[in-house]
């Protein structure tokens, strides 16, 4: 039974995955709330090619309720660049999740603020976001 396998995983040995960094560049397509995004993936400064990139998004508040359907990004002619269309439920801050497979295994979470123009990276201050 697969759940026994899962239990066995609890005690298995280590296999290190490599780390990568990513940047998003998104433009609003005009239809709410669909964005055309270009994902740039680098590792130790060098672009990473031939990756299987799956992008989805979640809202920081209520993290499991707004799951956006994961899309597979297409590689472009530029090395390290991938293209995907993101269909969000609303504007605001989203935690974009990038799952990488292939020559590099990693899972990245990036915070971006989406509005009617595009997406801007978010770096939150120490103050709690009240009114």
């Amino acid at each position: 039974m697969r759940w026994l396998l899962g239990l066995a995983m609890l005690l298995s040995f280590e296999v290190f995955a490599q780390k990568a960094e990513a940047r998003l560049d998104c433009i609003h397509t005009g239809k709410d709330f669909i964005y055309d995004c270009v994902i740039e993936i680098v590792r130790q400064g060098l672009p990473v090619t031939d990756l299987d990139v799956r992008m989805s998004a979640d809202m920081p508040s209520m993290p499991m309720a707004h799951q956006v359907k994961p899309v597979r990004a297409q590689a472009t002619s530029t090395p390290g660049e991938y293209r995907a269309r993101l269909d969000l439920e609303m504007s605001g801050e989203w935690a974009v999740k990038l799952r990488l497979a292939g020559p590099l295994r990693d899972q990245l979470v990036l915070h971006y603020e989406f509005d009617e123009r595009g997406a801007r990276p978010v770096r939150r201050s120490a103050k709690s976001p009240r009114k």
Binding site: R2, G6, M9, L11, V15, S61, P129
Partner: protein, 294 residues
């Protein structure tokens, strides 16, 4: 099964831990707006255990449950004599205090050349224990549901024992239960701690599924939502809260036509449902009817 469906099923499992935690308190007669904080305690505790202290996941989960129970008991003790809305507001206040503490919590260590650890409002990245061992989404799903199944069976069996009946008696009429020999305060504290441990277990699994947690994941929205799931699923059986979670995540995620109107539809349905069934779909009457048909 595609990855999206796996993701939804995993999330249903994870939220079920919190919903079941709220259910335990509901059958003991109390509304808690604060279980999300123990979900958070479990998440941070397990994340610290595996990502910073290098412990295996199994130990991380255990530590998470112990921390969840301990913090819940700590918070529950001063609030023990409170009832109704007062108890609910006390849990809300405590949960928000814990969330603010997460925002202020900074502790980072260097692991394998990288800085890892909770960084206040920036969150806690790099909880990659599961990821680094090449555990596939399906395996993790099996783990989550496997543990949930154990919990559900345990609670179901518990409800048939004297202890379980005492808990429900506490929920029905605490004064009467007291006169019948139930140690009301002690039992309530035990339920609070158990519910805390349960939510914490869910949080620990969530942290490893997501690889990243932040204080905002554990705000009031999560708490009130899971409380609603427990109530609409039904208070007659421990499967009730799972049903509630599945209804929201499963049914309405599946019907994408509701996108953008989801809460309007779901909210309205919930309010209507509660008029028809104030104790949820699988309430005590339905469960009794199901049981006595044999």
């Amino acid at each position: 099964m595609d990855e999206y469906a796996l993701g939804v099923l995993t999330n249903i499992g994870l939220l079920s831990f919190v919903a079941t935690s709220a259910y335990l308190l509901l059958i003991a007669g109390e509304l808690s707006f604060g279980q999300q904080a123990f979900f958070g305690v479990g998440a941070y505790a397990a994340g610290i255990a595996t990502a910073m202290l290098g412990l295996p996941l199994f130990l991380g989960l255990l530590i998470a449950m112990v921390c969840g129970a301990a913090v819940a008991a700590l918070v529950g003790l001063p609030a023990l004599r409170l009832r109704g809305l007062y108890f609910a507001m006390a849990t809300l206040a405590a949960a928000e205090m814990l969330r603010i503490l997460f925002e202020l919590f900074h502790w980072q260590v260097e692991v394998g050349g990288e800085i890892v650890g909770p960084d206040g409002t920036q969150g806690f990245r790099g909880i990659r224990w599961v990821f680094e061992r090449g555990v596939e989404p399906l395996d993790f799903l099996a783990l989550v549901w496997g543990m949930l199944a154990v919990v559900v069976v345990a609670i179901h069996l518990l409800e048939r024992t004297r202890l379980g009946i005492a808990i429900r008696a506490l929920g029905e009429d605490p004064e009467l239960a007291g006169t019948l020999g139930v140690d009301v305060l002690r039992l309530k504290l035990a339920v609070v701690a158990a519910a805390g441990a349960l939510a914490a277990l869910g949080g620990a699994l969530f942290a490893h599924h997501n690889t990243y947690i932040e204080p905002r994941n554990f705000d009031i929205m999560l708490g009130v939502h899971t409380l609603a799931y427990a109530l609409i699923g039904g208070l007659g059986t421990v499967v009730g809260p799972l049903l509630g979670v599945a209804l929201d995540l499963g049914l309405l995620e599946g019907t994408r036509i509701f996108q953008g109107y989801r809460m309007i539809v779901f909210g309205g349905l919930v309010a209507l449902l509660l008029i028809w069934r104030p104790r949820g779909l699988l309430d005590e009457r339905v469960v009794h009817w199901l049981r006595t048909r044999r």
